[in-house]
Symmetry: C2
Subunit: 346 residues, 2 copies
């Protein structure tokens, strides 16, 4: 990041008519955005949610409350604008870019970005989810989608995904790469009961035992226990960072992709904006692992990018604060009393 | 609240293309808004932030990092549109209504609502902050401002305030009305150091000891250890509730007003929308006391209504979800598998 711009942003924040630091995470966000863009007063006119969709062979194990056929059905819902992410993206002035990177059926729609790597992953509870080559191919597709969007003028990205079974793959990735055990990483996803939750934990444990993913090799982890949409999102995050664009990380699955991106290129973490902490077990610890501070506590657990697009309003708020607020001097407002000037740094 | 509309809202939420309950607090908010307005798909075109401004005699005790002259200076900043609340209100399509309910100097501006009850409160560390009559007058002014706004078509309110010294008065109110002691209710306000924090706690303890406010009589508490802007906001909240309008509660000071409103008319709590939990010590416990669940965790501590206006985007999001999302039937999406239907209720 551009540290000179970050220092300039901090200095600007301190002359605005408010007690120093009193806008909390909004100020931290403004400073991060300056570091990412190199501008003290950035603005993001074109913003896109990249929704990567793929299926998961592990659904054979009965780990989800919803049938796998919901993946292609929801892709069509994204394309006709009826899903939650469409509604919330419209509100935030963002376009939804839907990518078929591995749905287990043939899909066709003029607005669909068709980049199917394979018809869903294999069942990771019985062997690797995909080959290393497939994982790399999916990563590059994510990067390509971002490059194309940047060429169209997009300067702010939100990660989103659809894939019945993908909280299972995400939990396996998190447990493979961190000290968080499946008991801490596996959650209820779209809504399973205690019995199925125990089963889901056992499935993740089995996938990790059978595949032995190498924790020092994120691509190995991605290929063996990951998913095609997770690989695509990892590519999205890395390419957004490479293009000096902020990328808003949605929920648990997006955060698993963020963890992979951080392990592949640690510098990419500087470009990640945390949005919300979801209700999915493991998300809070995962964000801590990433050093990200969520702004929204909505108890959401939908994915798609829904929490991410809500955070766009907060990014806009940070930008407007930098661009529009009066200074102590311009407004003729007294600053903190000299005797207590030392109190302002906290 | 309209319970039939709430039930209808819950039923509508459950046919939308998402796992039941997966939008978390956004769904709870949609249900509350239905209860408040009687409409399953409400929308709020005209929204106003009511910023009540007043001074505090207790500033004589040296409890703030900023001099009292900042109160009138910031009022002018609100009127010329340069303060943080102006910037964030513009973003959310809300108008800022600034009320001089007790600033300790003469102010004049065409957009200022001039309803000065007195030139600031008296020093509560030496006697009552104001008379009971003055507290009641300030309450009614808050109600009057809301009635006038409702007549202009406003249907959604945000509370805001300005008054150097008002975290001290708010802490005294909270400690007078609840089991939270001054050690738990007094915070750093605009930014004081440890030494001044200890002094501020002692000042609040003294104010409570000298005035002996009656915890069963919220108006007595308001008069003896409150503030004119806090009384005004209490009136705003009560009148918004009486007009079946949601009222977004901002930070610590607004929440102290909300506590008073709830003690005067418990039913008014059904009309309060919590926005954020601030960094001011005591706010989290105060929200718990009120049974409100904040959506934003921004570490903000500015007041003015800044956290409240940020929450307007979340209210809009809840409204759009109700109005625009596709249903399982309309989008042709399968719902949870029958075998696991029992899992959906959580």
């Amino acid at each position: 990041p551009n540290t000179a711009a970050m220092v300039a942003a901090e200095q600007h924040l301190d002359i605005l008519t408010k007690p120093p630091g009193s806008l909390g995470k909004l100020e931290a966000l403004a400073v991060r955005l300056a570091g990412i863009t190199g501008e003290v007063k950035p603005s993001f006119t074109e913003r896109a949610v990249i929704v990567m969709a793929a299926d998961h062979g592990v659904c054979e194990e009965g780990i989800s409350a919803f049938p796998a056929e919901v993946t292609p059905q929801m892709v069509l819902n994204f394309l006709t604008g009826g899903a939650a992410v469409n509604v919330l993206a419209r509100q935030a002035g963002a376009k939804v870019n839907c990518v078929d990177i591995g749905v287990n059926s043939d899909l066709s729609h003029p607005d669909l970005i068709s980049r199917k790597v394979r018809y869903g992953t294999a069942n990771m509870a019985q062997g690797p989810a995909m080959s290393r080559e497939e994982a790399e191919k999916a990563l590059l597709i994510g990067a390509e989608v971002v490059e194309n969007a940047v060429a169209r003028g997009v300067s702010l990205f939100v990660t989103g995904e659809m894939g019945i079974g993908n909280t299972t793959a995400s939990a396996a990735i998190v447990s493979a790469l961190t000290d968080i055990s499946p008991l801490g990483s596996v959650g209820r996803g779209t809504g399973i009961n205690d019995e199925r939750l125990r089963h889901k934990i056992a499935v993740v444990e089995r996938a990790l035992k059978i595949n032995e993913p190498d924790p020092t090799d994120p691509i190995d982890v991605l290929a063996k226990v990951g998913g095609l949409e997770i690989a695509g999102l990892t590519g999205v995050i890395l390419a957004a960072a490479a293009n000096h664009c902020p990328v808003v990380i949605d929920g648990f699955i997006s955060s698993a992709a963020a963890l992979l991106a951080q392990r592949i290129a640690p510098e990419s973490a500087n470009y990640m904006i945390s949005s919300h902490v979801s209700n999915e077990q493991g998300h809070a610890s995962l964000l801590q692992e990433l050093g990200l501070q969520p702004m929204l506590h909505m108890d959401m657990r939908l994915g798609e990018g829904t929490g991410g697009v809500l955070a766009l309003h907060l990014i806009d708020a940070a930008c407007r604060i930098m661009a529009e607020m009066a200074t102590f001097e311009s407004a003729g407002v007294s600053s903190a009393e000299p005797a207590t000037a030392d109190e302002d740094g906290q």
